[in-house]
């Protein structure tokens, strides 16, 4: 047990905090502890979780990406135009188009980083400005409301009527989110590529000398994030039932905060899918709880910022220092 505690300290602390907050919220509000609210939480945080697991892969490989949310907007817009041109289509073709476009945009980042040795934050800040500038220039900020029917149609996977007559619904975004999470989990923990990503993120030069293909690592990490950004973009369009070119602007920093809160390290080699999902959920549960407690929406972000700041401060003070008996034998602090 101490071993599990030691290797998954961040996840366990996060889980404990989430449980604590949930317990308090269940006691304070009568609406929080219900199936309907739990489903709402999952429905609304799906897009962020999809982005988050994609970003996690890049963070594990030692990079950072600022451009993915804007890339998702670009994918959304192009996919909406393409699907309009083709006429019809369906979820499968939609996901393939969006995912493919996303991978292309991610590959541009990987190419710049790998070929020209540009540091990932510099390269992605440049592509962030290029993608967003060009998107706003060509679209003139005009939104698309005329989406195909299958995209705007709500797909309910599971529903149940609560005692008070309201319906608890689980919708398609959740299914896609679960698929993305499982796929990412398999990639990083169950494949050789995943283990290589961790090795590369922890020590790029060591990984290179070990015979790991450095270029492939860049393309896989940024390609995977591109894929997730594309899928997330399409799901967001489905959820919002419209495509607004600047709707996702600024989302990248919120997702980044949540992922790092979940234990991923800026600098690479560390982070788990579970922790990353918990990080996103902590932020959305807090937001949801504040909403149910009738806190002014203007105060939301203030409280969330304070909580993240507090969480970082607490989690960066090494847990083993607070709990000396948890320390593995022979380890220096």
């Amino acid at each position: 047990m101490p071993k599990l505690f030691h290797s998954h300290a961040t996840e366990i602390v996060l889980l404990a905090v989430i449980l604590l907050i949930s317990m308090v919220l269940s006691l304070v509000t009568d609406r929080f502890f219900s199936l309907g609210n739990a489903f709402d939480l999952l429905n609304t945080s799906s897009v962020n979780i999809i982005f988050a697991v994609g970003l996690l892969v890049v963070l594990i490989s030692g990079g950072i990406d600022i451009s993915f949310a804007v890339a998702a907007s670009v994918v959304q817009y192009i996919a909406a135009l393409l699907l309009g041109q083709i006429g019809g289509g369906g979820w499968l073709s939609g996901l393939i188009i969006a995912g493919g476009l996303g991978i292309c945009l991610g590959a541009i980042n990987a190419f710049l980083i790998h070929r020209f040795r540009i540091i990932s934050i510099v390269a992605t800040i440049a592509t962030f400005n290029i993608y967003f500038g060009l998107l706003m220039f060509f679209t003139r900020g005009v939104s698309i409301y005329d989406l195909p029917d299958w995209l705007t149609q709500r797909v309910v996977l599971f529903e149940r009527e609560a005692a008070d007559g309201s319906w608890a619904e689980l919708t398609l975004p959740v299914l896609i989110m679960v698929a993305c999470v499982m796929a990412t989990w398999t990639l990083v923990t169950r494949t050789t590529i995943g283990r290589q990503l961790y090795a590369f993120g922890d020590n790029p030069e060591g990984a290179r000398r070990f015979g790991i293909n450095v270029g492939a690592m860049h393309f896989i990490a940024f390609g995977w994030l591109g894929l997730m950004a594309g899928i997330g973009g399409l799901v967001q369009a489905h959820y919002a039932q419209e495509v607004v070119p600047n709707a996702l602007y600024g989302r990248e920093l919120d997702v980044l905060a949540a992922v790092v809160l979940g234990g991923a390290r800026l600098g690479g080699g560390k982070g788990t899918v579970f922790g990353c999902v918990l990080g996103v959920l902590l932020v959305s549960i807090t937001q949801n709880g504040l909403n149910l407690m009738n806190v002014s929406p203007f105060a939301f972000k203030m409280v969330i910022g304070a909580i993240i700041l507090l969480a970082i401060t607490v989690s960066s003070v090494r847990l083993e220092k607070l709990l000396p008996f948890m320390r593995a034998p022979g380890e220096r602090t």
């Binding site: 710049l112 390269a123 800040i125 220039f137 203007f298 993240i308 970082i312």
Partner: protein, 331 residues
């Protein structure tokens, strides 16, 4: 003559080459493509637009030099603007006296410095990553500002504030003069003071700096405090220019300031970079956007071109290092 050149080179450093070349390229391109480009109007608009972005970039520069980032700069500036507005409104609104305004400015700088100090303390004492700390501070300040203003904007300031944003002395815009004063201040700080030297040391290798007896925690706290104070100056200028305060003003500048620092040759890992090349990079960015404006494009295209310019400079830098490397192998 050559010793003069050497001294000038030492003063500005080799980082000037990238932005310098970009400056020449932009001047040549727009000078030939848009005949109205080389006129007083262009330089007037650049001179008035430069300070807002420039002051925020100065605020971003110090944390980057220590190997960090301060993502809270734009909202710190907004909060500082709100502080001035709050002081003015509580002491007569549009009829407030100059003394009240001065007190408000002092309080605004203090507020900006305070937010910086908090970040600096968290970063220095917990070793949490600056991106994350400043990010959560940004989310907090944005929330605080929106909570206080309810998303609206505050206006109705005394008439003597307007010249700070729009006035000129001897033909030079006042905001530009304030900006240049701040540039010189930062230059002296980094080149002449012990603090500046320690900032470079920490950016190169924080552990080595600590073992050499540098109080790294104190320096980090000071860096973020100064950064916050500089944001406040930017916030006051922004308030005078728009004649109103709204949370979210200048939000899009955030990543542009990082771009400007990198364009000015600052090392993303910290430790290397100077103020003057960053200043030149800022001028290049503004000239680009003014030039594109003259040719009928809008700000969004300019943003995209800024990104392309950054990539171009980075690729050039890679080419140069690649060529020198292959030359050394051959020779």
């Amino acid at each position: 003559m050559s010793s003069l050149m050497k001294r000038a080179g030492k003063l500005i450093g080799t980082e000037i080459i990238g932005p310098g070349l970009a400056f020449i390229a932009v001047m040549l391109f727009f000078g030939l493509a848009a005949p109205r480009f080389l006129s007083n109007a262009t330089f007037g608009s650049v001179a008035f637009q430069l300070p807002e972005l420039g002051l925020l970039t100065l605020a971003m520069l110090l944390p980057i030099l220590t190997g960090g980032l301060n993502l809270a700069i734009t909202f710190t500036a907004n909060i500082a603007g709100l502080t001035v507005a709050w002081v003015l409104q509580n002491h007569g609104g549009a009829d407030a006296s100059l003394l009240v305004f001065a007190a408000g400015c002092a309080l605004a700088v203090a507020a900006g410095a305070l937010s910086g100090t908090v970040m600096g303390l968290v970063i220095a004492y917990t070793r949490a990553h600056p991106i994350l700390v400043s990010l959560s501070m940004m989310i907090f300040l944005r929330g605080l500002g929106e909570f206080l203003t309810r998303g609206g904007d505050i206006s109705g300031f005394p008439s003597f504030i307007s010249p700070i944003g729009h006035g000129s002395i001897f033909g030079l815009p006042i905001p530009l003069l304030i900006f240049i004063a701040c540039v010189l201040l930062w230059h002296v700080l980094l080149m002449r003071l012990k603090l500046g030297f320690n900032i470079y040391m920490i950016g190169s290798n924080i552990e080595a700096a600590r073992y050499s007896g540098v109080n790294t925690r104190k320096v980090l706290v000071l860096v973020y405090t100064l950064s916050g104070a500089m944001c406040a100056v930017a916030g006051i200028i922004m308030m005078a220019r728009f004649n109103s305060v709204r949370v979210g003003h200048g939000e899009s500048y955030l990543l542009i300031t990082v771009l400007a620092c990198f364009l000015g040759g600052v090392n993303p890992f910290g430790g290397f970079g100077r103020v003057i090349p960053v200043f030149v990079a800022l001028v290049v960015l503004q000239l680009l956007s003014s030039g594109l404006n003259l040719m009928g494009a809008n700000q969004h295209l300019a943003t995209a071109v800024w990104g392309i310019l950054l990539l171009g400079v980075m690729i050039m830098r890679w080419l140069v290092s690649w060529l020198t490397l292959s030359n050394t192998y051959r020779g």
